[in-house]
């Protein structure tokens, strides 16, 4: 029995963190966010580490690691609010292809995904979070019609994996006739979200298995891990600031009112790490626990993330809400993570359903 990271996992964590510390300081994040683009050099750094192929088996040019490894990368990306594709393109899409695609589809797409040559967007929100504004995609006679809002890793995606109204998955070429893309601007400019309209578009179904459930569970865990990393960064920034800022001739971190806010953030957040580790481990090794613990990881981190985001901003006082300080990049990333693939109330509703409580 060992509930801990392996030395390989600690090395992975270390190398991703070092790369992001070098390539992705706040200035770089700000530049990409203001231009509403990915940070290409950061992405290139991740490609050199093999991150796009993290979950893809070696025979397709990947590294063949597990979801817990991906969760550690997601945590580091959240910690640095990195403006790069990841959750959809490096985690959900390869898992869908591995679990639900034909050998021919796998051979065609996985190597290009693993090498970082292409990215793949994911449009399954209606099937997980529920449909807003009557959105949804109908599949009939191998043709797709309708719209999917809140597609992930949207910009520059060569391909989309789309869930239809029955939960079946389809590959959609981003440049196919009848595909219309609209970028959505969210509070969080470090991630690319968009809306996909399809009009009589030819469908290439992913025929096998439970690809949607695996994508959903993995997506929940990645969003939770991203929030864990972003939240810890906000706590660290609060502590540093509270050790420097002086009022009434004392550093504000010596006042219990401030000290206790910092302690509460850390105490609420840290158990979430073990929950994420377990959920990610269960995804690969304890299937019976996978969906429930993934849902709880997503809901728990959404709630604690909101608490940390507002409390950390408050510890910073007035400077906390300025653009200049840049704390808002973490605040907004945590805010986006909370709603993507279902807010906590929705996810807990699904968790109750999974246990047969309704």
């Amino acid at each position: 029995m060992e509930f801990a990271l392996s030395s390989d996992q600690k090395m992975l964590q270390d190398s991703v963190t070092r790369t992001l510390a070098r390539l992705c300081p706040l200035d770089r994040v700000r530049k990409a966010a203001e231009a509403k683009t990915y940070a290409q050099d950061v992405w290139q750094g991740l490609v050199e580490l093999g991150i796009p192929g993290l979950l893809i088996p070696e025979k397709f040019g990947g590294v063949g690691l597990k979801l817990l490894d991906a969760a550690l990368v997601a945590e580091a990306l959240g910690h640095h609010v990195s403006p790069v594709p990841f959750i959809a393109s490096c985690v959900m899409a390869p898992l869908a292809l591995l679990r639900a695609a034909s050998p021919a589809q796998q051979a065609k797409w996985l190597p290009r995904l693993a090498s970082g040559e292409i990215t793949i967007g994911v449009a399954i929100s209606e099937q997980v979070a529920g449909a807003r504004e009557g959105a949804g995609i109908a599949a009939q006679s191998e043709r797709l019609n309708g719209k999917a809002i809140f597609a992930l890793d949207f910009a520059q995606a060569t391909l989309f994996i789309v869930a239809d109204q029955d939960g079946k998955l389809h590959l959609v070429d981003a440049t196919a006739p009848g595909v219309h893309k609209t970028t959505l601007t969210t509070i969080d400019l470090t991630r690319s979200i968009g809306e996909l309209h399809v009009q009589n578009v030819e469908s290439e179904p992913l025929a096998h298995g439970d690809g949607l459930i695996a994508m959903r569970d993995a997506g929940w865990i990645m969003l939770a891990a991203d929030t864990l990393g972003a939240s810890w960064q906000m706590i660290e920034k609060s502590v540093t600031y509270a050790q420097e800022r002086k009022q009434f001739d004392r550093v504000i971190g010596s006042f219990q009112a401030v000290k206790h806010l910092c302690a509460e953030m850390a105490a609420e957040l840290e158990p979430g790490r073990a929950l994420i580790w377990y959920a990610a481990h269960a995804f690969d090794d304890i299937p019976s626990d996978a969906s429930l613990t993934a849902a709880h990881a997503k809901a728990y981190l959404s709630e604690v993330g909101r608490f940390v985001a507002r409390t950390s901003t408050e510890v910073h006082g007035g400077i906390g809400i300025t653009d200049l300080l840049g704390l808002h990049y973490w605040f907004k990333r945590i805010g986006l993570n909370r709603q993507l693939l279902g807010g906590p109330e929705r996810v807990r509703h699904l968790a109750a359903q999974m246990q047969g409580f309704i």
Binding site: M1, F3, G253, A299, E303
Partner: protein, 397 residues
């Protein structure tokens, strides 16, 4: 991550299970504190002989003498829960005094006290808090004045659970009044039947007297009863507090409560509708389930780290605060689920679970306060865990 147990541990589990199966007929009633019943004493002896209690205490001091192995301890706890077998005796003597004596006691003190304490023959109470010394425990004023080879002890203790049935007390007494406050305290053992000791039950909001006040008037105690040397009481007490904080905030207790609430929500109805179908209650249940799971997995992480020496940052410092709070919130939620039935108490008609939830809701508030208040815990997390500065000393005036 590898959550499976190796064959050697699975073997140990099988042995434990067989032992419990074999002795099922002699399970005593679970120990509820105070003086143990005769069948509990027999059970305790059997558990020690077979390594299911006092497991790592050396044989020469009355224990089983096994190497510390946290996984085996966990397996024992799991199998006892599974078989609904009563665990061995617990309480301040076994959980706090015995480990402290083994760590810092003299050879004579270890030989005299540890074995009978483990067997449940000596029941102890803890004399720490005073009316004027709560969170600031080191400001305690109970004094021991040197009188020949003895101390004459005068003062008052409070929150002394088990004092009415205890044989002995381990007590913090100011014996070196000329020294600075942390350096003037001694940790002293003495019998509760020593002349000059008066015990007054302290009834709490639950309606029961779970605590006592203890008054000392010229209580004569030999100086040789000091543990760890005169003036060393503060560091000896800190060794003991470390053991106490580990006892509070057990995540498995939270899971037991959660499972009971799930059953409650399935069984109880309002106007014919199952409470599980109430979306608001269901959402609160799911929130609590998420927190219980997080604390359980956090516990597994700490367990592994204590074997491997892995750094868990402030992981250990948060357990008392979060665990006690979670247990209290579970009790509060159960009361809300029961609604008007949830305020029934004592021997009322329609009472649910013998009034457990209200009693827990009230008593657990005491656990949030005791053993280091939530506010003290937050200071510890902020100062030792996050590196924030200590409170500046207030000017003495």
């Amino acid at each position: 991550m590898d959550l499976a147990y190796t064959a050697a541990y699975e073997d140990f589990r099988v042995h434990t299970r067989a032992f419990l199966e074999q002795h099922r007929a002699t399970f005593p009633n679970p120990y509820g504190g105070g003086r143990p019943a005769a069948d509990m004493l027999v059970w305790q002896k059997l558990l020690i002989e077979n390594g299911y209690a006092a497991r790592t205490v050396p044989r020469e001091y009355g224990g089983y003498g096994a190497e510390p192995d946290i996984l085996k301890s966990r397996i024992i706890a799991e199998e006892f829960t599974r078989a609904k077998a009563p665990m061995g005796l617990s309480g301040q003597g076994i959980s706090m005094l015995a480990p402290t004596l083994l760590e810092v006691g003299s050879e004579e003190q270890k030989r005299r006290y540890v074995a009978p304490t483990l067997r449940g023959e000596i029941i102890w109470c803890q004399g720490y808090s005073e009316p004027g010394a709560g969170s600031d425990l080191a400001s305690l004023q109970t004094r021991g004045q040197e009188d020949g080879a003895d101390f004459l002890i005068n003062g008052q203790k409070i929150w002394t659970s088990t004092a009415q049935s205890a044989d002995m007390i381990f007590c913090l007494v100011r014996t070196e009044s000329e020294r600075a406050k942390h350096q003037g305290i001694s940790y002293i053992l003495f019998p509760m039947n020593t002349p000059g000791i008066e015990v007054c039950p302290l009834k709490t909001m639950t309606g029961n007297a779970e605590f006592n006040e203890v008054f000392f008037t010229d209580v004569r105690v030999p100086q040789e009863n000091v543990v760890g040397g005169r003036g060393q009481g503060w560091s000896v007490a800190n060794a003991t507090l470390k053991h106490e904080r580990g006892m509070l905030g057990d995540p498995n207790a939270a899971n037991t409560r959660l499972q009971a609430i799930i059953e409650l929500m399935k069984d109880e109805t309002v106007s014919g509708e199952s409470l599980m179908h109430n979306a608001v209650f269901r959402d609160r249940l799911m929130q609590l389930q998420g927190r219980v799971l997080a604390m359980q997995f956090h516990g597994l992480r700490l367990l592994t780290a204590s074997m491997t020496g892995d750094d868990v940052g402030l992981g250990r410092l948060i357990v008392k605060l979060e665990g006690c709070e979670l247990n209290h919130q579970l009790a509060a939620f159960a009361i809300d689920v029961l609604g008007e039935l949830g305020v029934l108490y004592q021997d009322s008609p329609h009472l649910r679970a013998n009034g457990f939830w209200q009693r827990a809701y009230m008593f657990d508030l005491g656990l949030i306060i005791g053993g280091g208040t939530a506010q003290i815990q937050k200071n510890i997390i902020a100062e030792r865990g996050l590196g924030l500065p200590r409170e500046p000393k207030l000017a003495r005036g």
